[in-house]
Amino acid sequence: MRLGILVNEGPYTHQASDSAYQFVKAAIAKGHAIHRVFFYHDGVNNSTKHTEPPQDDRHLVNRWSKLAGEHGIDLVVCVAAALRRGIKDEMLAPGFRISGLGQLVETGIEGDRLVVFGD
């Protein structure tokens, strides 16, 4: 199955990014394809390379980057939501790119399912 993923909450404050990451990993392990992961609302905060959690905590941004590198997953950050929260191209961790909301609608159209993580 081809899956689209929507992450609506930032890292650490909320479980959404953890759950989405675990879901994506499990889906890939089961042989599903991930069409795109789209980050919206505070979810855009998952994309910045300046994130530095304490060393004994999981590094969510690096986890996403690694997953993108290993499996060629398209990680898209909403431009309007990002700019509103001070996130720009030069701050993005590897594997993330900034684009428009059309990319979310497109993954809704192209994917067999769109799975939403957030409140």
Binding site: Y40, H41, V79, G100, Q103, V105
Partner: protein, 133 residues
């Protein structure tokens, strides 16, 4: 880089899916309602079969007489009236949510179809994409 980048001219051109946007949060206090409305407009620009459901505190998004001056936040409720211009005409409000908050269809700024939670669940079940915020 604009909101409309990668618009409907791409590989998705001509494909129409049923998108339902489920609005569950009050219009102010959090950004979900405002940013949620942005996605609705983009989905409409992609010529998708768009509908909106208002449940829980989401019914307040459509309440008449919103006054936000003291909050120093823009009252964006007139935007719901503009949806018709984007051919977004399927608006549903959950009866139980309205009643629990002392609201009726005539208290809302746009015409909606009032549905029970059971009817709304049936409608959700036939959607291709449900985006909730």
């Amino acid at each position: 880089m604009s909101e409309f980048e990668n618009d409907a001219g791409g590989e998705s051109a001509g494909r129409i899916k049923k998108f339902m946007f489920v609005n569950r949060k009050a219009p102010y206090g959090t950004i979900y309602a405002l940013e949620g409305l942005e996605v609705v407009l983009i989905a409409a620009a992609f010529d998708q079969d768009v509908s909106l459901a208002f449940v829980d505190d989401g019914v307040y998004q459509l309440a008449k007489g919103q006054q936000t001056k003291a909050l120093e936040i823009k009252n964006f409720s007139p935007a719901y009236r503009a949806l018709e211009g984007y051919d977004v005409e399927k608006l549903y409000a959950e009866r139980e949510s309205l009643e629990a908050r002392g609201l009726a269809a005539e208290d809302l700024i746009v015409p909606v179809e009032v549905l029970s939670s059971t009817e709304l669940a049936e409608l959700m079940a036939v959607q291709d994409v449900v985006i909730s915020s």
